[in-house]
């Protein structure tokens, strides 16, 4: 049969020569291979002391961003929920009342915004769909829980606090958003 790859090997069972029967050259070359591995630099990262840096494209737990004045960017347009292939995002929209201008950037906001972290596949399509630069994936790891219900993250966990902003500059510099 015609071979499509160059990985085909013709098997032969010709009798071994005397040198091959001694096995010693084979053993010796095997030992040379292991010696090479002894002298190799080890790639182990000793975790608690040394923490591995995530790649800039790493997609971890989501964050709902606020703008510079501390107002929520999200306008509950629902594009992220539509884009989500795992249907992990749900939200309820609400109208901004008078006196809430310092809380929400535009007239409409999400009164509840929930992501089911068990459904989420961390594809990042919500981030791409968002026209308001409100949702981003970060380099944080979703922690384990004992109850399924605890994996449904509400606004309390998703929205960043005003004092403790989440850095998403790495995500913005991956080149994906630069084109817009």
């Amino acid at each position: 049969m015609e071979s499509f790859t160059n990985r085909k090997k013709v098997v032969s069972d010709k009798p071994m020569t005397f040198i091959e029967k001694l096995y010693l050259p084979a053993i010796f070359s095997g030992m040379m291979i292991t010696m090479k591995h002894i002298l190799k630099r080890k790639k182990t990262i000793k975790y608690p002391e040394e923490i591995r840096v995530f790649a800039p494209v790493y997609r971890g737990q989501h964050v709902l961003k606020r703008d510079e004045e501390g107002r929520e960017n999200c306008t509950a347009c629902g594009l992220c929920a539509v884009a989500c292939p795992a249907e992990a995002i749900t939200m309820v929209a609400d109208e901004r009342k008078r006196g809430e201008e310092n809380l929400y950037r535009e007239e409409k906001y999400a009164s509840t915004y929930e992501i089911n972290m068990l459904r989420c596949i961390f594809c990042g399509l919500c981030e791409e769909a968002c026209p308001k630069e409100a949702i981003f994936l970060t380099d944080r790891i979703v922690p384990t829980e004992f109850e399924r219900a605890d994996f449904i993250y509400g606004k309390d966990k998703l929205v960043e606090s005003i004092d403790d902003r989440i850095d998403i500059t790495l995500r913005q510099n991956t080149g994906k958003r630069g084109a817009i």
């Binding site: 010693l24 053993i27 095997g30 030992m31 292991t34 591995h37 080890k42 790639k43 182990t44 000793k46």
Partner: protein
């Protein structure tokens, strides 16, 4: 016998005992390190600097474990098994000449606990008792895996002792003495036996791998087939003794190979030194060679897969023994020819 001799021999016994155990303990550490390096890992590095306290941690762990004796086992034999293993592993160190005689307080002290004139035969006797530890341990456990391990160990021991003995006869022919002191002395400077008997060394080396139950000849404790082999039923320090005995006997057989083939404490340029300097350098040279062999033992273990049982028997009976006999005959003929017996 005067008191001074008694004291010097006694302290030598204690020192050799401690050194053997210490080296065995640290070879467990080094074995784990080397295994890790070969597999591109780092190995134990948590206990102390570079993990150097790991053997102590292991020892403490072994002691803390429950010492369990199975209900249907032969209790007396079960207890004595690991003891025999350890005893035979340690007893061989009595006749090893660790270095040239040293001079303390105006007394010549030989760095050998007992200079038997039949040292080589003594080694053989002790090594063949060594298998009893494994055999008795495996039998007493009353477990089929243990028994299989014990049977394998004993048949392997018998097969490889023959080739080992014949290759040793070659060395005895070359030296004309059964005493290890004489064998070492005859290899003064760089006049090592390895240059005369490379084939003999190879056979001896393979046989010592088999005798110490090291990979690729560790069929007696073959994890993939026999769970743990002869020590399946053992726990706590009894298991510890079995495992430890392996390392002690590895150290001793490395020392033996250094003596028989690599000149023991002899090193090139040793004529420029004398007295205690020579003794210390000699001991250093001896230990360097021994450690080198221990390293090679481990290196081989983590390189080569285990033999199948029939391959083991095939190698032992059909390859090593004929090769050893032919080598011995050729050596004998050459020696006889040189002495003008023809």
């Amino acid at each position: 016998m005067d008191t001074a001799l008694l004291i010097e021999k006694f302290s030598l016994v204690i020192i050799v005992f401690l050194i053997s155990l210490g080296i065995a303990a640290y070879s467990t550490y080094f074995e784990r390190k080397l295994a890790a390096w070969i597999q591109d890992r780092i190995g134990p590095d948590r206990a102390g600097p570079f993990g150097l306290l790991q053997p102590i941690a292991d020892g403490v762990k072994m002691f803390m474990k429950e010492d369990f004796i199975p209900k249907n086992s032969d209790k007396w034999l079960f207890i004595i098994g690991p003891g025999i293993s350890m005893f035979t592993a340690l007893i061989t160190s009595t006749i090893i000449p660790w270095g040239p005689p040293i001079e303390i307080f105006g007394r010549q002290i030989s760095l050998q606990i007992a200079d038997f004139n039949i040292g080589v035969l003594f080694i053989f006797g002790v090594v063949s008792i060594g298998v009893y530890g494994i055999m008795i341990g495996g039998w007493a456990s009353n477990n089929k895996y243990s028994l299989f391990g014990a049977i394998r160990a004993s048949s392997q021991m018998i097969s490889y002792e023959l080739a080992m003995g014949i290759s040793l006869i070659t060395i005895i022919l070359l030296t004309g003495s059964l005493s290890l002191t004489d064998i070492v002395k005859s290899q003064h400077g760089m006049n090592w036996n390895i240059f005369y008997q490379p084939v003999c060394f190879l056979i001896f080396f393979i046989c010592s791998l088999a005798e110490t139950n090291r990979a690729p000849f560790d069929l007696a404790e073959c994890e993939s087939e026999l769970v743990g082999g002869y020590h399946t039923e053992y726990s706590s320090m009894k298991l510890g003794l079995f495992l430890f005995a392996e390392y002690v006997s590895m150290f001793i057989s490395s020392a033996l190979m250094a003596i028989l083939f690599f000149g023991g404490y002899n090193f090139p340029g040793m004529d420029y030194f004398d007295g205690n300097t020579l003794a210390i350098l000699g001991v250093l040279a001896f230990f360097t060679k021994t450690f080198l062999f221990i390293f090679v033992f481990m290196w081989i273990r983590w390189t080569i897969p285990r033999f199948r049982f029939d391959q083991l028997m095939h190698l032992g009976w059909k390859t090593l023994i004929p090769a050893a006999i032919i080598n011995m005959l050729i050596t004998a003929i050459v020696i006889a020819f040189n002495k003008g017996w023809f």
